[in-house]
Subunit: 682 residues, 2 copies
């Protein structure tokens, strides 16, 4: 019946093409970097703007704090990268923060991390696409004038692409990411050259604006609070750093070492880009405000609600390269593309995490199966739906969405780093080798500092952002947490219920006899086949059962039965109300009452058809009967399928679907098994 | 999986209460009359108005044609009743027009009748409810000011009532119908008394209005056409007459005689009421116009688009009883109620006709089962949806809806009467008894005249109404016809494909051996039970099969297997991609390749749970595997259910659902079997 609900989907997205399995190919560092870093690197497209924007509350004079805030973000970034280098060495299996937290802090912490990451994936899609639209909008005004529909359209496009199962390749990620990185570096270098060597005065398009400070002359606690808020916003640059730790298995050998190197490269690139963009923003006098309509003044007059505030990166690009110049357009396009790729990583990461959670029975078991298209599709649709909802609710305003974003990231950072400290403590208890011990103590120190710092940032983020929207993210986490706990509880309860006793119980006592019943309506090929199969299986008693709903048909059946000389007794039950299910159930129950230790085996000839609408025309009575028989104890229900000609179509379709390959394979790598015990290598 | 789609339904409409089976009780005439006649009698509530309305096109002077038109309608009514008295004698099985047309004119005619009746049921709901709302509106202005939402709300209410399976009783129909009939008769008698004896001048609320003739001084062909259009509208009074012929089995014995008597009573009542209301309308100077806003003048000025035209019956009641008087209110309420009951009869008739069509394989077979709640529900929802759509499209304007209405009725009348003529011809060929022959010849004459007259009316209706909306009804009929033809073709093709040869073919050749496979994931009770059952059935080879998706789990399984000393060989297949379906399918196929004459029997332990959301957490892999195995030839798939504790809830639910009794039972009577040959009694 899943077919039925599948149909609209299939009409919309067509059928997946057969694609050869990926994942057998391991990623070299030069490809792994763009594959895993698009999320982290793309965040430098919005993080600098957010910092300036918050500072503007205290007026443009507060902009001089921005280098210090950038420095603080760099310190956190440095710490996080150093910490995660320890993670990838200790946990090369790709379980990421969830595995680290579960193993070292227990399942509740693990589940908290998982909830945070799931929320995070939703927000990655919402924030990245919104920001991408804003960047694209600085080159194409139409886009920014229709932000919400454009953002939703991009979400839809990515969703369809992922549902369809686009074949991924490293170069898909590599080209835009490298164009973006190289573009930003050229911009920084050229900007620095113009400013320092040529002594040009570069002016951002907003350089002539004035900012009306919302809170004039802030000082003391209020100022500190504002700076902390700006810092929190800047920490948006750190999202996506943990991606590498989830993808260690996809790296070439030595996996952990290569992953760690990639992490370092990513960190270095992100830090340089972030600092460079903030520096250029200050040099070119970019002006950003939280409420640009009211607080940006042009010639003393507010610019009004119609004003669209371009992102810092494109303002800087305009100042450095000139508006409408080739490089400006390329950079805007590459920025938007990298942000969309970052959103796409969430589409891949969400089902991967779902699969790991399913293995631990926090999510329906079928999610665990790789390439289960239905499960994958449901995950994708859930992710896209939640992201689109957020985009619509928040009017595709990246500034407002970012308030929700970083909570999840830092919950996961903090718990993961705390877990790593425990990890080293445990290993230090048994490790005798002095060299290894020194190594471990060093790692522990790094992770401890990481835990402390990210914990501190988490507190700062919660304090400064809670009322601004962080509560929404926390609520989302609670919902995920509660749902997954309930699912796990259900599975545990069932596992307990069905656990076999060590001593043979009544389940294992062999029932005494089998009474087989073949359901017959007419003597056609499916019935004859069912009868032949049932005879082949030697049960203690075999009879055919027909429900008489029409005396003429019943008589015809009896005559046919005799003429063919079928040596199975035919029992006919009357059904004055033309029901089929109830007489069969009643008969089976009466057999069970007569001899409770017998097992009743019911054979149902079934038609196999090719189209869902044909399914509506067949097997409905059989389906209902089967559904009811399942509730009758001591019964086996056997379908004897008869493949109609039209079933060929469905067969082909089923084969195609089985060969479908879920996107995200590149990032996941071929190693599928998570060892139950952490390897402990550092 | 039907459960899933059922859930919203269940939340909305709750669970059906257990109700004792009806239908065992046969209907005396005094109850049968209201049960079957509410549709026919209620149409006098709108037919007179439609006649006046059409005539008003030629100005108020054309009203003097209305008695002649009433007379023509009475003649048709008389003819139809006389004709159907023959039908109920000749076809006492309740198959109605569909059976008559199929038996005598062939399946295509039968299907045409069926399509016409299905469309007719939809329109009965739309027209009756709209008209009921208009009648109610003359007492409660709020209702008429919100016609469309009110009409849709009533449709919704009736739908929920019918989905829930309200216990029907004759008195439910009897009280409002009798109140209505008695009310109308009191009105006619009191009106006649006031006019003739007291000499009162009774004035309808619209008596002072003038009508601006849209086409002044019509004459010749144009006038005839207008009169024919008015006659066509008046024929709306005939809808519902055929209901009795569908319900013969529900009558007390002698069934046919009682049904014929009821028909006569119904015809007499309808004719008297129709004539009486038209007479009173003329006496009280009721003014109706097709476009009341423009064509009704009050003091020379159009009343404007805000004017609401009350139905003739309430205008007359107001004139006779006085506005706001008790009897006026009672009559308006009873009229509305009877119209809603008439709509309700369509809710009962639609699935009954569906069941008969399903028996002849024009509709999915499961509709044939009586009390199949799911099928019944789908029919009800389809009917209600189509009716609501029409109500919304036509703005709950009964005048516009009636244009669509009578086509279907007269298609069915004409074909049925033509069929009856053939019926008598056939019987006359063999009948020798002189008395019987005379009787038959008389009947044939009546039916022939019926066929001629209803055919003529059909032509008139088509000519005068086609562009006014009758084409919509014809389109609906074509859609039903095409769909049912396609379904029948599919069933015929399948029947041919699966027909067994007379000589034993390869289907009947006994396959050589059975290879049984029990699917195992862990050794818990469901698995142990499946193993025990599979062992009980003595197949030629038995093995357990486990798909290894996790080496640790597989090892645990192997150890457990050995420790318990299970004497069934355990085969383990590796699945590097954590798939379950593919390795099993491949293995089964390889077995079949090795020995093609063997049958593979796959045993799948299955969990039986109580809630749909639990279903999402279990059996998903089993479900998919079963779906794929069905496409593999030479395979049997056996579910060995294990009832979890939570399944008790579902068991109770299933039992309740099985005991549910479809509405419409009262009308259908207990005799369920249609004889293949008409009885020929007259």
């Amino acid at each position: 019946m899943s077919k039925l609900t599948d149909v609209p989907k299939r009409i919309l997205i067509g059928r997946a093409l057969r694609s050869d399995r990926l994942g057998e190919t391991l990623l070299p560092k030069r490809i792994a970097l763009p594959v895993f870093a698009s999320d982290a690197l793309s965040s430098v497209a919005y993080a600098p703007g957010e910092v300036l924007l918050v500072l503007s509350v205290a007026g443009v004079s507060a902009y001089h704090f921005s280098p210090w805030i950038a420095l603080a973000v760099v310190v956190v970034m440095f710490t996080v990268v150093a910490s995660y280098r320890q993670n990838v060495h200790a946990y090369p299996s790709g379980g990421g923060d969830y595995e680290v937290a579960t193993t070292n802090l227990g399942p509740k912490s693990g589940l908290t991390v998982a909830s945070a990451l799931l929320v995070d994936y939703v927000l990655t899609v919402a924030v990245s696409i919104t920001s991408g639209i804003e960047n694209l909008g600085s080159a194409i005004p139409f886009v920014v004038e229709h932000k919400v529909p454009c953002a939703v359209a991009v979400i839809l496009l990515l969703t369809l692409m992922n549902l369809r199962g686009v074949k991924e390749s490293g170069s898909l990620f590599a080209i835009p990411t490298y164009v973006f990185v190289v573009g930003v570096f050229i911009m920084i270098a050229w900007g620095a050259y113009r400013a320092l060597v040529l002594g040009d005065t570069m002016r951002a398009p907003t350089a002539d604006f004035h900012i009306k400070a919302e809170q004039e002359g802030l000082a003391g606690f209020a100022l500190v609070f504002l700076l902390l808020r700006a810092f929190s916003s800047g920490c948006a640059a750190l999202t996506g750093v943990e991606a590498v730790s989830n993808g260690v298995p996809a790296f070439r050998k030595p996996k952990s070492k290569n992953a760690a190197t990639t992490l370092t490269m990513m960190g270095a690139l992100a830090i340089t880009m972030l600092v460079g963009i903030i520096a250029l923003a200050l040099v070119t006098d970019v002006r950003m405000a939280e409420n640009p309509g009211q607080d940006l003044l042009k010639g003393g007059v507010p610019v009004g609600p119609g004003y669209v505030q371009d992102p810092v990166i494109t303002q800087v690009a305009e100042a450095v390269f000139g508006n409408g110049s080739f490089l400006f357009i390329v950079l805007a396009a590459a920025t938007a593309l990298v942000l969309f790729l970052a959103a796409n990583t969430a589409y891949n990461g969400f089902p991967v995490l779902g699969s790991i959670l399913a293995q631990d029975r926090y999510l329906p078991r079928q999610l665990h199966t790789r390439g289960d298209r239905l499960a994958f599709s449901n995950g994708i649709v859930l992710l896209a739906g939640a992201a689109a909802l957020l985009v619509v609710i928040y009017g595709a305003d990246s500034t407002r969405l970012i308030q929700l974003y970083i909570v999840g990231v830092f919950v996961s950072f903090t718990l993961s780093q705390t877990g790593m400290v425990r990890h080293w403590n445990r290993h230090l208890r048994t490790e005798k080798d002095v060299d290894k011990r020194r190594h471990m103590i060093r790692s522990r120190a790094i992770n401890a500092f990481g835990a402390f710092l990210t914990g501190l940032v988490l507190v700062v983020v919660l304090v400064t952002k809670f009322t601004h929207g962080a509560w929404v993210a926390l609520l989302g986490m609670c919902i995920f947490f509660a749902t997954m706990t309930a699912i796990r509880k259900h599975y545990d309860r069932v596992a307990e219920e069905i656990a076999a006793d060590e001593t043979p119980s009544d389940e294992t006592i062999r029932p005494s006899r089998v009474h087989s019943i073949v359901l017959v309506s007419k003597l056609h090929r499916p019935t004859l086949r069912a009868l032949a199969y049932a005879k082949l299986i030697r049960s203690d008693r075999l009879e055919a059962l027909s429900i008489s709903v029409d005396p003429a048909e019943t008589k015809a059946l009896k005559d046919d039965w005799e003429r063919r000389g079928i040596d199975i007794p035919l029992k006919i039950l009357d059904s004055p109300y033309r029901e089929v299910t109830r007489p069969v159930i009643d008969y089976v129950k009466s057999l069970r009452r007569e001899s409770p230790r017998d097992v009743v085996s019911v054979y149902i000839p079934e038609y196999v058809v090719g189209h869902w609408y044909e399914h509506l025309l067949h097997n409905q009575s059989a389906l209902r009967l089967k559904g009811r028989l399942l509730f009758t104890p001591g019964v086996m229900v056997t379908s004897v399928p008869y493949q109609l000609e039209s079933s060929e179509a469905a067969k082909k379709r089923a084969r195609k679907r089985a060969e479908w390959n879920a996107p995200g394979a590149v990032r996941r790598g071929p190693v599928e098994r998570r060892p139950k015990e952490p390897s402990g290598k550092s």
